[in-house]
Amino acid sequence: MSDPFLLPVTPPKPAPPADAADAPSEDSGAWQRQHISALFLGLLRFGRSLFNLIPAVAALGLSGNSRYIPFAIAGYFLLHIGGVLSHWLFTLYRIGPDSLSIRHGLFSRNERHIGFDRVQDISIEQGLLPRLLGVARISIETGAGSGEDVTLFPIKMEKAEALRETLRAYREQARPLAEAQDSADELSSTPSTPPASSDDSRLLFALPPRKLLLSGVFSPSLAVIALLGALIGFADRFEPFGLNIPSERELIAMIEAYVGSNIFQQNSSPRSIALVIAPLLLAIAALSLITGIIRTIFRDWDYRLSREPRTLRRLRGLTTRTDVAITIRRVQSATLVTGLIRQIFGWQELRLRSLASDIGSGEGGGDHQIIPFAQREEIDPILEEIGLLPNWEAVEWQRSHGILALPSFFTLILFAASAASFSIPAANSWGWPLFGAAILLLLIEILTARRHFHGVDGDKILIRSGLFRPSLTILPRRAIQSADISDNFLYRRLGLASLAFGVPGISSHADDRIPAISLSKATALRAAIFHRD
C-alpha cells in the first residue's frame, strides 16, 4: 500500500469550465443583488421579531405610558423595514469564472471571496413560502474552521441550481480522479459498496476478554465517590422500598459501635481516626475499581478495529453497540495517551483526530478512540496502516525550557505565602499541611513542565507532554494549515519562543504546541515545514 498521506500531485490550474458560458451567462461576472422577494420575506419576519419588543411594550404598559405603545411598534417597524431594505440593497454577489464574491454592508464593508476549488459542500434549501415564490437559500462551505461560510437568501431557484452546476463542472475538471472517487465514497458513507474481495475488510485489532478486564482495572471510575456523597446527603429524607438508609448520625453511631469507642468526640486519638478512615478509603477504592471495570466492559465489549478500503471501522459495546468509520484520508493526527501508572506497564491508548464529516462520530468529528488499551507493538502496525508510524529510534527528543513552570511557580508562592500568613506553620496545626501542599503542587508543576518534548521524524512532528496523563501527538506535515511563533518580553530575553500549529479538527487529547524552545530552532522548524510545499 502506498502512503495515502502524500500530498496529491498538484493538478494544473484548470481553465474556466467550458460550459460556464451556457450557465447563467447573462449575470456571470456582474455584481447582483439577491432576489427582490427578500423585501417581502423580510416583511413577514416582522411578526416574529415583534417578540423582541414584548419587554419594552410591557414596561411602557406597566409604567402607565401605554399611549406610547403604538408609536413604539411603529418605530420598530420602520427600523425593521430599514434593516431589511438596506440588507437587500447592500448585499451583492458576483459569480466569476473561478470564484464567488459576496459584498456586505453600507458603512462598514466586508467582501468575501471564495475560490471554487475550495468549496467543499453546497446545499440548497427551500421552505414552503420561498417555494411558492420560486426562490431558495443556498449555503456554501469551504471547510474553514467556522461552519457555514456563505449563505445567499433568497435567490432564484434556477440561479441556485446553475451555481451548483457551475461548481460541479469546475470540480470535475479540477480534481484528479482519485479525489472524485473519494468524494463519491463519502456520499455513500455506509459500506453500501459491496466489498470486492474478502481482504477488503481485515481485522486490525481486537480486545480479548482478559485484556478487557485488565483495561478496566487501569481505569477506575471516580463517579462512585460522587454517588456516595449524594446518597449520604439524600438518605435523611429518602426511604426506597421501605428500606431505612441510615442517616449521617446513625452512620456515625454504627461506626462508633464497630470501632468500640466514640471516636468522633473531641479528644479522639489519631489511631482511632485512622481505624475508621483506612477501611473507608479501601472501600471507596474497591468500589471505584469495580465500577471502572463494569463501565469498561459495557463500553469496550468485543472491541474490533478493521481496515476497509478507505476507512478504519470500529465496533464496540455490550448493550449499545456503536459502529464508527473514520476515513483515513481525513485523519489529521494521531495521539498516544497513557496514564501515570499505566505507562509503567506500557499500556497505551490510540486516538485519531479527524475532519468533521465522518459517520457515526456523533459529536461532529474531532477525536476518535481507535485502540483503547494496547502495547506499543500492537499500536505500531495500525500507525503504519494510516501512514503515521514514526521511526521511533531515529527521533531525537528535545526538551522544552524549564521556564514553563514559572507562571504556576508565582501562583504557588502566593498560595504558600497566604497559607503561612493565615496560620503560622509552627503555631497552627493546619500551617504545615498547607505549606506542604503548596510545595507538592509546585513539584508537580515543575515535573509537568519538564515533560514537554518534541521530536521530528521525516515529515512528522512528534509532541510529548503531560505528567498524569502523558500524551504523544504525531502530527503529519500535511495536516498543518498554519504556524505561529509566539514569544513575550521574558522569552525574548532568554532567546525562546513557542511554536503552535493550526490543525483542522478539535481534539481534547492532541497537543499542537511546542512551548519554550529556542527561537532559532522554532524558526528553522517552521521553515522546514513550509518550504517544501
Binding site: 469551504t142 474553514a144 531515529a394 515529515d459 514569544d487 479538527g505 532559532s520 528553522a524
Partner: protein, 176 residues
C-alpha cells in the same frame, strides 16, 4: 536521522526566513487613527462613568473631588499617545511566492505563516473609519482550529484587493 526534514542545530542556524522581522513590510501608519478612534470611544465611556461617580458620590464621602476623573483621563491620554502608534509599528507582513507571514504585538509577539495552499477563503473588509482613510483589512480563513481567521489590518484598499487576487491565484491545490 533522516535528511528529508533537516533541522539545523541550535544557534548555528542559517537565516531561516528570507526576511528578518525588521525587514517585514509595515502597515499604513494612518491605521493608528482607527485604533485611536476605538480607544477614544472606550476612554470617553469610562471617563464619563468615573466623572459621574466623581460628581455624585465623592462629595458625600467627604473626599476631594476630581482626582479620580483626572487620573483616569490622564491614563487614557497616555494610552492614546503611546499605544496606537506602537501597535501599528508592530504589525508587519510579508508576502512571498507561496506564503504570507503576519507578525503582530510588541510585548507578546505572534508571528504567523499561512501557506497559500492552505487558505480556504478570503475577506476584505472596511470599517467606517478605515473607509474614510482609504484602508482595508484582509482576513485569511484556514481550516485549522488555531488561526481560523488571520487578519491583516491597515492596508491600502487597492493593495488589499490586489493581495486577495494574488493569494487567490496561488490557491492551486487542495489536500482533502
Amino acid at each position: 536521522m533522516t535528511a528529508i526534514f533537516p533541522i539545523t542545530p541550535d544557534h548555528s542556524a542559517e537565516p531561516p526566513h528570507p526576511t528578518p522581522p525588521e525587514d517585514l513590510t509595515p502597515i499604513e501608519p494612518r491605521y493608528a487613527w482607527v485604533l485611536r478612534a476605538s480607544l477614544a470611544i472606550n476612554a470617553l465611556i469610562t471617563t464619563a462613568i468615573i466623572a459621574t461617580a466623581d460628581a455624585l458620590l465623592v462629595p458625600k464621602l467627604g473626599l476631594p473631588q476630581g482626582i479620580a476623573t483626572g487620573l483616569i483621563a490622564f491614563f487614557w491620554l497616555l494610552m492614546l499617545l503611546i499605544l496606537p502608534s506602537r501597535r501599528v509599528l508592530s504589525i508587519r507582513y510579508h508576502i512571498s511566492d507561496d506564503h504570507i507571514r503576519i507578525r503582530r504585538g510588541f510585548l507578546f509577539t505572534v508571528d504567523t505563516i499561512v501557506p497559500f495552499v492552505r487558505v480556504q477563503h478570503l475577506d476584505v473588509s472596511q470599517g467606517v473609519i478605515e473607509r474614510s482613510l482609504g484602508l482595508s483589512s484582509l482576513t485569511i480563513h484556514t481550516s485549522g482550529v488555531l488561526n481560523q481567521a488571520v487578519t491583516l489590518p491597515g492596508l491600502e484598499t487597492s493593495l488589499a484587493h490586489a493581495m486577495r487576487e494574488t493569494i487567490h491565484r496561488h490557491i492551486l491545490t487542495d489536500f482533502a
